[in-house]
């Protein structure tokens, strides 16, 4: 029961953060966020329904077998440790290379794209590690 409550709480927090992120993104782009209430809420609702269906389907297919166990946590721990060093030293190396080839300033938009790519890669890697 405690787990269930925690799951619902986590879900609500993620939804709220995504909603705030959506409105904030529109505000940063200089658009009126109120115009995008329906697309943001609609997108979130659609995403939630698809996730819920996938979750139920997965539960039905796997029965009582848990998604995560001690070995999964160990693998994720190792993976995240590797990711930490790769991102730290990799980003440092990229900066040094860019500086050495004459790039002395970086556009914030490019940083946003870099972070987005990084998040996606780390997320996909974590999913693959979980399935091992």
């Amino acid at each position: 029961m405690k787990n269930k409550k925690l799951q619902i709480f986590g879900w609500v927090v993620i939804m709220l953060c995504m909603m705030i992120g959506g409105f904030f993104g529109m505000y940063i782009f200089g658009e009126d966020p109120i115009k995008y209430v329906m697309p943001i809420i609609g997108g979130l609702a659609l995403g939630s329904v698809i996730t819920l269906i996938l979750y139920k389907w997965n539960k039905k297919r796997n029965g009582n077998i848990p998604d995560v166990d001690e070995r999964t946590l160990l693998l994720l721990k190792r993976y995240l440790m590797i990711v930490l060093y790769v991102v730290l030293f990799g980003s440092g190396a990229v900066l040094l290379v860019l500086y050495s080839i004459g790039v002395h300033s970086i556009e914030t938009g490019m940083l946003i794209v870099y972070m987005m790519v990084l998040y996606i890669l780390i997320g996909v890697g974590a999913i693959i590690t979980k399935c091992l």
Binding site: G63, N64, I65, P66, D69, E70, R71, T72
Partner: protein
């Protein structure tokens, strides 16, 4: 020295599937497979659960691989 186990043999003797075992021990099927292939050493908690599950003495389930000199 590597830890070797007889889980696969005992499981197959008792006609238990990996999925059934994973359900009973609350671990993933991949973990059962990794343990059987000696690729992953279970935690003490899981090792004790395995002993209880098969109801066999610990030395029958896990043992240390003997080196050449022994």
């Amino acid at each position: 020295m590597r830890v070797i186990n007889h889980i696969r043999e005992i499981r197959q003797e008792r006609v238990i599937t990996q999925i059934k075992m994973a359900e009973d021990l609350h671990v993933t099927r991949q973990t059962i497979n990794a343990i059987e292939k000696n690729k992953y050493n279970p935690s003490l908690e899981l090792a004790l659960k395995l002993i209880q599950y098969f109801d066999v003495p610990i030395e029958e389930l896990f043992y240390l691989e003997k080196s050449k000199g022994e």
